[in-house]
Assembly symmetry: C2
Homo-oligomer: 491 residues x 2
């Protein structure tokens, strides 16, 4: 089975697609651009959701549900927003089908035309702020800290599983505050929550930064972003947190009485991560044998393959393992004994490598006689035979070690893949031959940003936070500059 | 605040609507027929989801996600299904908006018309079975036990919050099996899982039964149902589990190689419960003061109201409570101390009654001096003053007692509201004057079923399972009959 995926070195993009299919994560559906998330892929996404949801709730956020549909006119209310989102979207124009009177099957009933078309939400700022208008009267109603887990639709011409699909799944937080400062603190707080999730669970060392005006969310004052560097040297935007100022409050007339009893417009943030994270996870750690999962997100952490051919042998092996199984249950380590006697051990090894199970144990009659067990870690594929009595602690420590190693490896790769450049020649050389992040001074103009994109297809991924004060020269324009940015080609 | 809801006796329907709004559960949105589920309502739905999801997983089911959209032609593939679901649905016809060249804002781009219209899923049998076709080849791929938590859309002309909305939230299980018998066992198993959830968590004593042909799910061979009796004597269908036979397998050509290596069509089930359960919960237990929640589904089980006016007093009260708080944390009892000094205790009492918090404690300086605390249970509104030292155990036991009492009360009401009738005169008398379930013999004909509906608006809610063998007379047709059914007017 493992043989069936294209090697990374041959065609990274094909490797990715093969892996997503062969590991049973997702597939294309009968509806153009929409994916089916298969049970194994969905189990990983569920773990992500559970962890993020807990972090949101611990910081005072609550969940709610807003409508799937948005009246067309809502999209036009915020001037920048409409340009960003009113373009490629699914439009509901009718609410009934009927039997074709001419016998042509079922057809849209022309009499059931909506007075105003409905848009399937591409994002929910407009419908939510039209609702907040009724919920917010006084400073006592603030802050309002609400999140929703939802499906959204953006009509995409070129789709890739998890990375860019017409329908995708995400969470979108939408908060309302008394002051600009409080909203800015919220924007940063959510950025930090995302970053810690990406480091600690996904083992992806993201860069925190702010977007240039050209890459900002349509309707935001500031867009903060988390940028990951994938194995092929391309960047992936993994999450964003927007300070929306009073833009949506003004568009939907959402005012509150402040403590001095004066009317003020409310300050807003929104922030989201999506099933795109699945793509980031895959392209940060996996290899030619398949998926590699960090133990903290693996639905199955340890798989045990009995090496035997009869039910009696299987029974003996299971008995031998009973204490280890108790240990796993107590330590919340997820495990599975693959008892299928019809498939070969070799087939199973390849299968669980493809699925990225962090630890594989193999145990047969000879191991039991010798008091040993074979253990293979998925990240390095290193194989060891250890004393059976040492198994419990070994597994527990190894899960931690794999988690750390994945982050370490990804951090090395990110750092090796980040290049400071001073000249335009260097810029294009590195972009063409090495890829990765290019760190360079930027003169701050839209003109330079556009020109770089036009010449190289690289974009400003972000202006990293916490920069030292420095001055230098923009490599393209030759103008003086005092901020450094990260350029990259991106997904 | 509590004064603002219409009494049940005056107008039950208005009472329901008032309660949903005033308790902060849900409201109508700017999109006709679609609701916003507010944070408090969503917290209850999340608890329901969590418990059900656990039960599904414990019985071997896994989650996945299938597309929101369904190609129009899919709906026509199963003959009965198309009649049931192709009528009132949201139809996506275009995928782009543009600026009106005549300056009329944004308009649908006529050039972005879909070749084939997409339907927003009203239920997912068709898209899922078109997918299963590729997943199922051999008996080794079976059973396939998949669930999805999703939003669905059915265009409704007359909507009511939670009970009937254009968009609603649900889970839909879709399973595939080798044999008819195995699929039938699955259908029953899921019915039992729903029933135990409704009894043990919702405290709603549902009746398990099978639907008559006239009330069957469009495309099912048999539809099993759980029917609850609401406080106003109307029935509510709370969940269904369908044995689909080979109907969808045949419509989508889903065959598998059986153990003898012959091709066979797969056997199917589907089953679902929705946000309608919120309506059932409300209309089973609540009263004129607001919501009444069973402790096992209450997001907040105990609210503590400090009776004081200064920060110092508040501090003393909190110190006094510290051991009780530890107790709650250890016992997973959810609690809140309402420390707001600006609102009066009376206002708070009404507020938490409206929200259905099962236990309310009030504690002031005098109570502390006396070594007592005031405790009020929401179900009976009984108030007691108990020794403070007895508090921990009292609260723990009372939560169990309230849960049991709600089920007991609802069971009494259901039994009192179930009437055996022998004559048509009795039938119409009881339906008109008492409502509730009418248990009567049915001659088994569609004709009688239709006639009863036409004359009284009552429908056959179900043929209850586990009937004793009996013969009698159908009260309307006067024909001999050997099954008893439950009739009722229904939501």
């Amino acid at each position: 089975m493992a043989k069936e995926i294209t090697p990374q070195g041959q065609d990274y993009s094909q490797w990715y697609n093969d892996l997503v299919l062969k590991a049973g994560l997702a597939e294309h559906s009968a509806v153009k651009g929409c994916m089916v998330i298969k049970p194994y892929g969905y189990a990983i996404w569920e773990k992500m959701k559970e962890i993020l949801d807990k972090k949101f709730k611990e910081t005072g956020h609550v969940n709610a549900a807003f409508p799937l549909f948005i009246p067309k006119n809502f999209l036009s209310k915020e001037a920048a927003h409409v340009d960003g989102f009113a373009k490629e979207c699914a439009v509901v124009t009718h609410y009934r089908l009927k039997n074709d009177p001419n016998g042509g099957g079922i057809v849209v009933d022309p009499e059931a035309k909506l007075e105003e078309e409905l848009i399937v939400r591409p994002t929910s700022e407009t419908i939510i702020w039209s609702t907040y208008k009724n919920w917010i009267n006084s400073y006592r109603d603030l802050p309002l800290l609400i999140n929703q887990w939802a499906n959204v639709v953006r009509w995409e011409m070129r789709t890739r599983l998890f990375l860019r699909t017409t329908e995708f799944f995400w969470q979108e937080g939408h908060t309302a505050h008394e002051t600009a400062q409080e909203a800015q603190v919220e924007t940063q707080k959510m950025l930090d929550i995302y970053a810690s999730f990406m480091y600690d669970y996904m083992a992806v060392p993201v860069i925190k930064g702010v977007k240039s005006a050209g890459e900002r969310f349509a309707g935001a004052v500031d867009t903060y972003t988390l940028e990951g560097l994938m194995q092929d040297g391309k960047a992936l935007q993994m999450g964003t947190s927007h300070f929306l100022g009073q833009n949506f409050a003004k568009a939907f007339e959402v005012k509150f009485k402040n403590k001095k009893n004066n009317d003020e417009y409310v300050w807003a943030t929104s922030w989201g991560v999506s099933t795109r994270l699945m793509g980031a996870l895959i392209m940060s750690h996996s290899d030619d044998e398949g998926l590699v999962l960090p133990p903290r997100l693996a639905p199955l952490q340890v798989v045990i393959i009995p090496i035997c051919t009869t039910e009696q042998q299987l029974y003996n092996i299971k008995s031998h393992l009973s204490e280890f199984i108790d240990f796993c249950n107590n330590e919340n380590i997820t495990y599975k004994i693959d008892s299928d006697l019809k498939s070969s051990a070799g087939w199973k090894f390849a299968e669980y490598e493809m699925k990225g199970v962090p630890i594989r144990l193999a145990l047969g009659g000879r191991d039991m006689d010798n008091g040993t067990i074979e253990i293979v870690r998925r990240d390095t594929r290193e194989k060891k035979t250890i004393p059976f009595v040492a198994l419990n602690n070994y597994v527990k420590k190894l899960l931690i070690e794999i988690q750390e190693n994945l982050l370490y490896r990804a951090t090395l790769r990110r750092d090796d893949g980040t290049h400071d450049v001073a000249s335009w020649q260097e810029f294009t050389d590195i972009l063409e031959n090495k890829g990765g992040f290019i760190r360079a001074f930027w003169d701050g103009t839209q003109e330079t940003e556009d020109k770089v994109k036009e010449l190289t297809k690289a974009t400003i991924r972000c202006i990293p936070l916490d920069q030292e004060e420095e001055v230098g020269i923009d490599p393209l324009s030759g103008k003086p500059a005092n901020i450094k940015v990260l350029y990259a080609k991106a997904y």
